[in-house]
Amino acid sequence: MKREKMTDLWSLLLLLCGSIFMIAPFIWTISTSLKDRRNVFEIPPQWIPDPITFDNYAKVWLESPLLHGFMNSLIIVVIVLTIGMLVSAMSAYAFGKFEFPYKGMLFMGLLGTMMIPYSVVMIPQYIGFSRLDWVDTLLPLIVPGLFGNIVVIFFIRQYMQSAMPTELIEAAKIDGCSFPGIFFKIALPIMKPALAAQAALGFMGIWNDFLGPLIYLHTPEKQTIQVLIASMQAMYIGQSDYPMIMAAAIIAMVPVIIVFFFCQRYFIESMAISGIKG
């Protein structure tokens, strides 16, 4: 018993040492974002800014189109998550609980798409969307997401197979419940935990996405927050205005950290189950 306690103590100590290296960059970012431009280049570095100023946040929020970026990212996330999740849930229900001709073939085909790297389809997709005149609009980032996501479908399908007994569907049928009725009244509520887990991951994936928005969005007012802060790099690092950049980086992180804070359990569970990384 005593040996166990010692091991606990040593583990905690090692983890604490490591956590300093994990957390220091964040604290340093916050510290820099609160500094006056003149105090940034002090050596040795000061962890606690003197004086502390919130001007960088105000300036970066008001002077640059960061607010637009924030809203654009939010629009994409909200539309893609609400519709995409519902569509994925519907097909996961069909694939998971029913038999129908060509089911195996259709599902394997969908799974196969997971193997296509984005770099292969990004060029033809760009050409297609530019033919539709959708370049520099949010549509190329929203529309593909409305058709559901195979990873989400796969995850929910697995979940449904164990969480929803087929007898439940049979009973509902006998009671005269229609097909969509069973889905919306019985299946969807059962899926809630799995949907929440995937929504949390999906939020992170869409909010943090960079390559897609970088390809499609060119006008600053139309860009997502990630593309905006990446382009601020050229603007402000040229002037060595690190406090501005760091303030922008913090603003881009805040929504993810808020979502993570509320859905922490889902995040870590779904990471462990589906093992999908952003």
Binding site: L15, P25, G109, F179, I237, A252, I257, Q264
Partner: protein, 297 residues
Amino acid sequence: MGTKLGGYRRRELAWLYLFVAPPVLGFLLFGLVPILFSIYISFHKWDMLTDPQWSGLGNYKDLLKDEKVFKSLYNTIYLMIGIPLGMILSMLLAILMNRKFAGISFMRTIYYLPVISPIIAVSLLWQWILNQDYGLLNNFLWETFGITGPNWLGKPEWVKPSLILIGLWSGIGGNMVLYLAGLQSISSTYYEAAEIDGAGAWHKLTRITIPLLTPIHFFVVVMGIIGAFQSFSQIYVLAVDGGPEYSGATVVYYIFQHAFEYFNMGYASAVAWVLGILIFIVTLIQFKLSNRWVYQD
């Protein structure tokens, strides 16, 4: 009765196909059609302004002579050094975390925070940390060890180690969670039996823990390699224009430059296909080799 049931089944089938239609349609529109089109343009020269010019295998022949393709491929593979390093670190972390004491979930959160943080924000903050004169890292090296740190992102020989360091910092939390899930599925009876046989901590680690975690090792390696082949965002921020002497450019960065900066759509598609096939082959080999070392119960 029979016709009534048949009618229900027919309606049900209609609903089922309606429910699965969107992802199937999405697969055709955003997967299959782009793939076919991509093959087509990879055999053409095309700048999107004039009509595509048939060039046969021209693009593929050109890329064999293109030094930058090989340089970016070399960089991409070099950066994979981070995969085994990350595995060792995240497995050790998971072992330390696989206990129940106060503050453990707070610890997990701290290590997990970089995983959820936007890659662009993370890249920008590391750019500042790695600043040669005012960066946190070089100041730390000077204050504690008296070492003058290098120009991390400014010298070709330091760009890739810097990128690996950042990759480790931002990735170990994710793999730690996977290893933690793996550890929790190992039955304690194995350890109890080993203790009776007089096995020490090292033996338990190398003979029980590491072998029983092979499904996780396998998953982490496969996903790690696929991810590394596709790395782009951190490169875009940290190795501006590919970094000094193109030392930080990855293949996807190279494809991006050709497609969206020079508008060599055909050539970029050819490189994308070579990369796609490479990923496919490497993944296939790993699956073939997996039955030799991955433990299945």
